[in-house]
């Protein structure tokens, strides 16, 4: 099981290593949004600092949509999906492997973006442990839900427009919880960040379970 998961994750990460889509396209896109927010909010430093958690997570969600597209596109053409199924690897392992690779890429973007908001928005980090824990929890949820809904849409032509309107409302709880947890960690909101982090972990666990349970059906559908 673990070997299969690592095999699938390794495949996707190797493709990323050679194509560098996440690093050279998705991460710059995320930084670009952060800069655009700076223009839109009139470079108001106190406002930017106050709203850093929210702006950060909206940016991550938008960038994640791109990352999910990329993750699906890897298997979209040339019967690659059928090929993957024919390897005999269990669908649940395929799900976990694809999710792991996606999570790793979103984490990469998230770390780059964290540097960007520290530079552009004067974000301060009061509680590093909380920040890192909630970041990982949130990205786990985004990656699991993204992989699940990505697989659902598969090679559909309408994927580019349908994925955002489906995935973004689904991820609304992650946005709420991650923004709150970051607010606590960055000292902009007085709230219990750890409670929100546990909500993030619950969301992630739920979507990982749903993905494992339903991926077999989904892979055969599209």
């Amino acid at each position: 099981m673990l070997a299969e998961v690592l095999l699938i994750a390794g495949k996707d990460l190797r493709i990323e290593k050679r194509s560098k889509i996440a690093l050279n396209q998705v991460a710059p896109f995320a930084i670009l949004i952060v800069i655009l927010f700076g223009f839109a909010l009139n470079a108001d430093r106190p406002a930017l600092t106050t709203f850093t958690p929210g702006l950060y997570w909206v940016t991550i969600l938008l960038a994640s949509v791109l990352a999910v597209h990329r993750s699906v596109a890897v298997e979209a053409g040339e019967g690659a999906r059928e090929g993957l199924l024919l390897t005999g690897i269990r669908p649940s392992s395929i799900f976990l492997g694809k999710a792991a690779a996606l999570i790793a890429q979103i984490l990469l973007v998230a770390v780059v973006l964290l540097g960007a908001v520290i530079i552009f928005y004067d974000a301060r980090i009061d509680n590093g442990v909380l920040l890192v824990t909630s970041l990982i929890a949130a990205v786990l949820g985004v990656g699991a839900a993204g992989t699940l809904y990505g697989a659902l849409l598969g090679a559909q032509r309408a994927r580019e427009t349908v994925l955002p309107i489906l995935l973004l409302p689904v991820l609304a709880p992650v946005l709420i919880a991650a923004t709150r947890a970051f607010g606590d960690a960055m000292g902009t909101v007085a709230t219990d960040g750890w409670a929100w982090t546990s909500l993030l972990f619950s969301f992630a666990a739920l979507y990982i379970a749903l993905g494992i349970a339903s991926h077999g059906v989904l892979m055969e559908e599209n």
Binding site: Q156, V170, A172
Partner: protein, 288 residues
């Protein structure tokens, strides 16, 4: 409909429920009777809501001034039935989705889809009337601190996503199963949204106990009750029509075009050259 895939020509209609294959509309005696009853009901509802049910005016115990929601209160006769219908509709969609996966049933797939459309409409109506009501009463079009408001909004957005999923390409069976899975996933998601929003907003200003607090009694209570019954009745009427339309669309996708082509071609060619309407050599005993 995006699905233009057609199956083999057949002249036998499957024994699915719905109007007769040669009927042009989606109406039947049941829907016509129900429709007339509902129109009469709407008349009575309008009369009650605008007329004798009266505005919400109470006398403040200490100051003796008139307080209450006045005429804005009358929006409750749209808002509450719409909200109840929305929840009912999405519940039916969830049940339909489960039944599709359990029984592999086309019927339930069409029910789930029809119900989701009406649910989206009702949810939109709930949000719009709530917003119009909130302007004079809460002094804002939108209240971010209200759990039910936010849940309904996310529910509405998710239903839009679900309806988009239903329109994706694929065979009818693929689309049915895919939609059913999304339908069930979204049910789970709505629960999480509700919990997280509740936590986030921490306090609500929604009228939890309007019925107890705003002195809904007598004719007001009856009008509200009547409007809920009317709302559910309208839901049933729309469901029947929407379901039948979906069923006819499905028939058309599967048989309609082939049948029409075959009939036209048959008129022109079959007798002349002994080939079937598709131009293939005819197999002995096969009907054109």
């Amino acid at each position: 409909m995006a699905n233009t895939k057609t199956s083999a020509v057949t002249n036998t209609m499957p024994s699915l429920p719905g109007p007769r294959a040669d009927s042009i509309g989606t109406g039947s005696r049941t829907t016509r009777i129900l429709g007339v009853v509902l129109i009469l009901g709407i008349g009575l509802w309008l009369f009650l809501a605008f007329g004798p049910s009266g505005p919400d005016i109470r006398i403040d115990g200490t100051s003796g001034q008139e307080i209450g929601q006045f005429d804005a209160f009358r929006l409750i006769y749209v808002h509450v039935p719409a909200a109840i219908t929305a929840y009912l509709a999405f519940f039916v969609t969830a049940v339909g989705s489960a039944m599709v996966l359990i029984k592999r049933s086309v019927w339930w797939d069409l029910v789930a889809g029809a119900s989701a459309e009406i649910g989206a409409l009702s949810a939109a109506l709930t949000l719009i009337t709530g917003s119009i009501w909130g302007r004079p009463i809460w002094n804002t079009w939108w209240e971010w601190g209200d759990v039910r408001l936010l849940t309904m909004l996310v529910l509405f957005m998710l239903s839009i996503g679900y309806l988009a999923i239903r329109r994706l390409e694929g065979t009818a069976e693929e689309r049915a199963r895919r939609s059913a899975i999304v339908g069930l996933l979204l049910v789970v998601n709505v629960v999480i949204v509700n919990r997280s929003v509740e936590w986030w907003a921490s306090q609500t200003i929604h009228q939890n106990s309007t019925i107890a607090e705003a002195a809904i009694d007598g004719l007001k209570a009856f009008t509200l009750f009547f409007s809920i019954v009317l709302g559910v009745g309208l839901y049933v009427w729309m469901m029947i029509h929407r379901f039948r339309l979906a069923w006819l669309e499905r028939q058309f996708d599967r048989f309609g075009l082939d049948d029409a082509l075959a009939t036209r071609r048959a008129e022109a060619t079959t007798v002349l050259d002994g080939r079937d309407p598709h131009g293939r050599d005819r197999v002995e005993g096969e009907r054109p």
